[in-house]
Symmetry: D2
Subunit: 417 residues, 4 copies
């Protein structure tokens, strides 16, 4: 990878954001003799896509591709995560981790379409995203080669500090950020915004005021709660109804965006946590995932309501596998394909409606109903005997106790010796 | 149980609440020829213990025992549950399930001390509590015999409706409830209050206003949040500090009661859920667990912060085992003893402090610190390379991708055939 | 169930073996006023089915049904168990447990066809089979009623000892066993024979000579080994080829019977073990499962050869679930249906051939091949670098070590304080 | 690491076998400017340790250290593996994987004692051993630096073929192997010998005759079986008694060596398998583990006999974790320390004796006894009712069926719509 002059070293598809770092990488790749195709996936983040495109071409890209992946994101990535009640280490809803394989898939497609031998990205060498991105690329296109400049000594040793980057940028006409760099980094998409590094690296200090962007501070949220109903079919949300104003959303993307708005308005889905990166470090992050938070609460409720207890016990084990696989970047793997397949099957009966109240940072389940519930009001009733013989419970208990009694007898025999 | 007459059929320790049902049982047991020792465990519920005692003796008990188990409850049952972040089916914090084995243990002790051959209780034949109670009793005293009137045809067929109970009560001077029976049943202790049955049996309808007793409605909670710090040592809470007013609590029972007050004031810890009983039915319950909810959130945070990732993955599996064991009544079992032992060991490094904000029904983690954290601010920093070679990550990814590439190559070979 | 005289109490389908116990039950049921339909499933056991039928009719059955379930047994029950490498508690291949749900299914079908309200069986009250049988029946026909005489006091108290049974038999013309009862009980079907109770109840004593019936003593097995090849498609055995004499078997039932012969000849598949019954007791059993043993060894080999490592890790967890479900009688349950579905999916690539040697009680894998193996001879070769950069392994190791180094540093910091 | 001439680059402890490869590495390291301390662990392999030492010094090592680690190997590594019934992917008994952390520990100790900054080894870049070795070293000495020549381009590119190695050897007086290189590689220690690569890389071909060295071919084993008794205390073998000749072994190392002799004589413990390396490749190996195989069979038997069913279910999950951890080189990790701790605790009651027959490649359990068994001969007996009410089993079954009946009813409601 040592610099080689003007010769053509091949074509590279670069994940390009328009910012200082990836602009620098773009210019550097051209300098190294690559043809560069800039690529930016629209996964729901706020962006002036035309301006980014103009920049890419100005800095030497031969082309810029901007696919709109929002619907795929919701249907193929977010819905399976809701079905899995997916939380990494009990708390992180995987907003970034779910987007990476989708971005990688579309990028590899560009590489195939354009005959590019390389893909490149600006992820750092300490994070999870390099892994998710590259595992996705290798899995879908085993022969692809990855250029990760922040892991290449010839690149990162050239830019040991931000000032070196600034000088290079000035020299090559890359505009410097007009505002000072925000004191943390963020990653935004349709599902969430994450915040980490900078001042957030001290895990004992709360995130500074103003850090969040999708949600209001719960203390600023409306004093009046809102009640909504979410309908699920086979574990997938198919309709949201606002019981206050009658709004109804059925299109998956619209439904998800609407729940983001509602959740954002009520300050729902903020977390401050420390997590374990795949690379083995602990890192601190702030996340806000409004729609995802609401949906997982509602889905969990309808799932317990409609699914057999023992089936769910097994399914919950698969959920944990799924969350780990996604977090670590193994979406496109034999094990994750299998896990998704099994989880989807488990959702056959997860059909019904959940009613929730949204209020100042939290959601409250108010009730649920389903045509397929295993809940049997008569059977469980304290006032009706139903098709149930209380005496059977005595036998059930005695048989369950047998093992414990034997154990106790053995113990007392031991201790009396 | 057929024989009746006046003769002495032995001594029975009866779990006695002073209410209509257990008073009826008391009278009935005496009538059947048993000597009855009434027993009521103080596990933190509000109760006029003297009045209950007077009743018991009036209705024929030869004695009433009222042990104060609150400290044991916190130290031996609630703390292990916090260490296990224990939630049954992701949501129920096990407030009742944790108390039952303690109640059974003390009751069996009374039976041993008094030479009683029997224990009796007023739990219904459809619930979990009969199981928890009896498994505990059999495990600790394999030779004990259990009388469960609501499972005995000669008892429950005598009282097919509430009116039959009322008539029997009137005849034997048992006072009827002055207020009409509340339209649901509840179980209260230091850790939680649960509400179920009656109008709550319709899972689509929200709990009626006024159902909760430990917590205010979040909408009525103070507009001003409160910030507290909780210190843990080996996974056990050892100090709570209110950063607003400087209150400090260190005694386990006081600390827990104080967190209940704070949580209650801010409306924290309410849930409405459907769960799967051990007996195989789905049932709907409302729970409020203020201190428990706060503590599990804080404990989860400090645990992830201080515990190795892979150790925690194994430990979380044990947590799920623990929750199931407790829910089903297997506290005193070889497997639960083992699980508790292992979980306790996992907590060796779980020492540190968590800061949280309490506000209108929710808790928000603000930060955490620990002398033993594996969090390494320098290692994770985006601005410092530290003792970390970015190039290693490239090798890490390539090796992880190897398996995926082989799989992809095989697949494309298959599909090209 | 108290005796009632000649009136018609309904129709019962009785699992009838022709032996003393079920003949007695038959007569007793008729005596109690039931119409009895005798039922005997042919699941591959040696039996004079006509003689049994004649007996049933002689003792008062209105009909006898003898369905041949052997093909269903292999295709629908044994094959899934092979795919799951199913062993309960690491050792028991579930020969009886797999047959029970099939027997129950066909019996319930008879009950439906004949409009019978009851099913009855002669299983004892301490074993697993009553559970497997009845759970199957209730799951497939929730309204069915089960009569289990050995759990009915009015029945078992009438026959407290074998002599009482003999007297009753004599009185009703039921022939007594001509030979003394064998000093153990056995259960035979196509898959295995099991031996338990009687002299086998002392777990410290070896099974007496002559106990086994499907297999020769390994010490008596041929001195010359035999080599066979087994071909699998999606985890199911589809062909066995004897490399000595060229015999080829492809029909599922024939293939399985042939492997039983081969295994039996070479003394393969005997185990002596103690297991934990669902009921909570430990019991000692001897089993011989010749074909099953060979097939699970071969299947395990081809599975590891063709299946991705991480997928298999998840699949093995499901295997353990499956074995437990089957052992406990939950074949017809939501969780077992789900588990079988997922395991079957995992077998998509488990296609290929395994060569084994059979010799004096053991099987030895000699080699395996597959069109879909993930084994890559060039990649793994020590003599060829292939598409593999050794330096990547260094990065892989360093990143994996990061977590361990942090842990070591923390520890040494702690211990130096 | 670029060559530097004669200057001192520090001290390196080299894992030295005396063979061509590590001799070449030794000379090369000296050439590169390192002081080399040669190190060879005695873990039970056959070796002329003095000759190796002489070689090392001749080729430029400043010192040679040969610790005898055999007792530690048995007590601290093999015994925990027996307690865990440890098999990787159901079949590999981890003979090499268990030795690596021990070798690494002693080697790091040499590095600390001698003030060496480096450790080096001759493992290849495609295998597991580099990982196990280095993870151990980093975990125990986070600041250590590892030199792995077969992963260093400056080394391996210098020796692209065996001939280049031969020429270098000749030039430096390193004796070439007198016999042609055996057509596979092997790794031997007290616990096992493994064979892989070379002609064994074709997984469809059986291992050639004569490949095994610890065990005879089962076809050549004695025609007369031998019966032994193994006594365990808390899951650890404490005595072996040969019932044929009365030999008794109690010292751990002697006991293990004796079982190797017996197992070897009877051809026990050979396996031919394909496994998944940590690195992601499938590889084929032949292993022979005579004593380990016998001990795991015996230990499994006494464990099921003495351990509660539900406790063992949890423990078996930990066993699988343990096997994976050891295979991957994470012996010295927080998770493996924890797992070993928990497994050891689970063995509290695993005390008793197992009798086995050894015969032509296989072991046969004949019986077991224990002072602490939960096996209750009276309880399980078919002839004695004991303290067991058959009627209780009916209630047990009915309650277990409840869930299944509800499921069936829901389904039939669904299908009738």
């Amino acid at each position: 990878m040592a610099a080689e002059g003007g010769g053509n070293r091949g074509t590279v598809v670069l994940a390009y954001s328009g910012g200082l770092d990836t602009s620098t990488i773009l210019v550097w790749l051209v300098e190294q003799g690559y043809k560069v195709i800039a690529y930016l996936a629209n996964i729901g983040q706020e962006e002036d896509y035309d301006a980014v495109k103009a920049k890419a071409l100005k800095f030497g890209a031969i082309k810029m591709v901007v696919p709109d992946l929002r619907k795929e994101f919701v249907n193929e990535f977010i819905w399976p995560a809701i079905q899995a009640n997916a939380k990494y280490e009990d708390r992180y809803l995987l907003g970034t981790a779910l987007a990476r394989p989708l971005i990688a898939r579309a990028m590899v497609q560009v590489a195939k379409d354009e005959g590019a031998q390389f893909v490149a990205h600006g992820a750092t060498g300490k994070g999870n995203d390099q892994i998710r991105f590259e595992l996705g690329a290798y899995a879908l296109h085993p022969g692809i080669q990855v250029i990760s400049p922040w892991r290449l000594p010839e690149f990162y040793q050239r830019f040991p500090g931000r000032n070196d980057l600034f000088e290079y940028a000035k020299k090559h006409g890359i505009p410097l950020p007009v505002t000072p760099k925000s004191p943390w980094s963020m990653d935004a998409n349709l599902m969430h915004v994450s915040y980490e590094s900078g001042v957030l690296e001290d895990p004992s200090k709360p995130g500074p005021p103003g850090v969040f962007t999708m949600t209001v501070d719960p203390e600023q949220a409306p004093d009046k709660p809102e009640v909504i109903q979410i309908d699920f079919e086979k574990g997938v949300p198919v309709c949201v109804t606002n019981q206050e104003d009658g709004t109804v959303k059925k299109d998956p993307l619209e439904l998800f965006v609407y729940l983001n708005q509602l959740g954002g308005k009520h300050g729902i889905g903020r977390v401050d946590l420390v997590e374990n990166r795949f690379i083995g470090m602990k890192s601190r992050g702030l996340y806000e995932t409004p729609a995802g938070t609401i949906l997982i609460e509602a889905h969990t409720d309808i799932e317990v309501f409609t699914m057999d207890r023992e089936l769910r016990r097994i399914k919950r084990g698969l959920d944990i596998n799924f969350s780990d696989q996604v977090y670590k970047g193994f979406w496109f793997s034999p094990e994750c394909e299998f896990t998704r397949f099994c989880i989807a099957k488990s959702q056959d009966s997860v059909t019904g409606s959940v009613t929730l109240k949204l209020y100042k940072g939290a959601t409250y389940i108010l009730g649920r109903k389903s045509p397929y519930s295993l809940y049997n009001e008569e059977l469980v009733s304290m006032n009706v005997q139903g098709d149930y013989e209380p005496i059977d419970a005595g036998g059930f208990i005695k048989i369950n106790a047998l093992r414990l009694q034997e154990y106790a007898r053995l113990r007392s025999k031991e201790s009396s010796q």
